[in-house]
């Protein structure tokens, strides 16, 4: 990481380089895709089992993935590098999530509690992951501005989750 040196003291450069607008909008739109996924997969779960509602999108997603890889042949960033075995386990972590939320949704927490606590879990892990540069990803120190933005977004989410319904 680049550092700013002032009178012998070092300041992290990440403090003064916020994300570019395109990256910022891209991540926001990605969140919109999640709403479509919850909607479509949730519709499957109305008639089929919860396991089925997670199994089917993994099949149709795999089919598109194979087609995309065959047609576009994306370049492999580090063909010579030895990829750690655990880097392939993102799918298992994701599949476990479905099972956990299926269990907690049917407890006293209901959907709203499940989502709200899930947001907390996501943010705590992401902040720690950034701080440590976990799994070889770029290390970033969260700034005061990040924490204020985070607090506003989480409180808005909580208002929508608990009071936005009928």
């Amino acid at each position: 990481m680049r550092r700013l040196e002032i009178r012998g003291r070092c300041y992290a450069m990440s403090d003064i380089s916020p994300p570019r607008l395109l990256d910022f909008i891209g991540a926001f739109v990605t969140g919109g895709l999640l709403t479509l996924m919850v909607w479509f997969n949730g519709t499957l779960a109305v008639t089929g089992s919860l396991l089925f509602a997670s199994w089917v999108p993994h099949i149709t997603g795999s089919i598109l993935a194979i087609a995309v890889l065959l047609v576009f042949r994306p370049k492999i960033a580090k063909p010579e590098a030895k990829i750690p075995w655990w880097a392939y386990l993102g799918g298992i972590s994701g599949a476990f999530t479905v099972m956990l939320t299926s269990a907690t949704m049917n407890s006293a927490l209901a959907i709203s509690g499940t989502i709200a606590l899930g947001l907390a879990g996501q943010m705590v892990f992401s902040l720690v992951a950034d701080k440590w540069g976990m799994m070889g990803l770029p290390q970033r120190d969260p700034t005061a501005r990040d924490m204020i933005a985070l607090a506003l977004i989480l409180s808005g989410s909580i208002v929508l989750i608990f009071f936005g319904g009928a």
């Binding site: 991540a27 149709t60 990803l137």
Partner: protein, 155 residues
């Protein structure tokens, strides 16, 4: 109750863990490859669980409208986009913006489908989220420049 609360937090942790793992894989390969592996490995895992526990085809699995089966292709784009974003803007910013996007689009879909809801709470919630995004963006233009200082690379 406390046990279920811990499980719900753990579910959120696993969402971010999955994003971190896929982001790591995409550093070695590409965002599209990482989404491919996420889906294939997840499919294999769920198939094993389905065989072990059973009940995969319980109810009326083919009774849903055709478009409901298309969540997978959207998921493929979602995982690829997340892997791309986490490398560009970091895990916390990615999580924050995905949550913001999900919440605001959720309100739009609910309103488009005519779902009953508390209008003032919807306005307040969306306003808070937009304010958070604005705060996060507001630093983008102001470059901190202190006279008589230089930027030096870390030794």
């Amino acid at each position: 109750m406390l046990g279920y609360a811990a499980l719900a937090v753990l579910a959120g942790v696993l969402v971010s863990l999955s994003r971190q793992l896929n982001g790591s894989l995409s550093m070695f390969t590409s965002a599209l490859h990482s989404s491919f592996w996420n889906h294939v490995v997840g499919f294999a895992f769920l198939t094993v669980i389905g065989i072990a526990i059973g009940g995969l085809f319980a109810g009326d699995p083919w009774g849903a409208p055709w478009w409901a089966y298309l969540g997978g292709p959207i998921g493929f784009i979602f995982i690829a986009a997340s892997s791309w974003a986490i490398l560009k803007i970091g895990a916390a910013q990615t999580a924050m913006l995905i949550i913001a996007g999900q919440m605001i689009s959720g309100v739009i879909v609910d309103m488009a489908l005519g779902m009953a809801g508390n209008t003032s709470a919807r306005i307040a919630g969306v306003a808070l989220i937009l304010a958070g995004m604005l705060v996060s963006r507001s630093g983008a233009k102001t470059k901190t420049t202190i006279p008589g200082t230089t930027i030096v690379p870390k030794k």
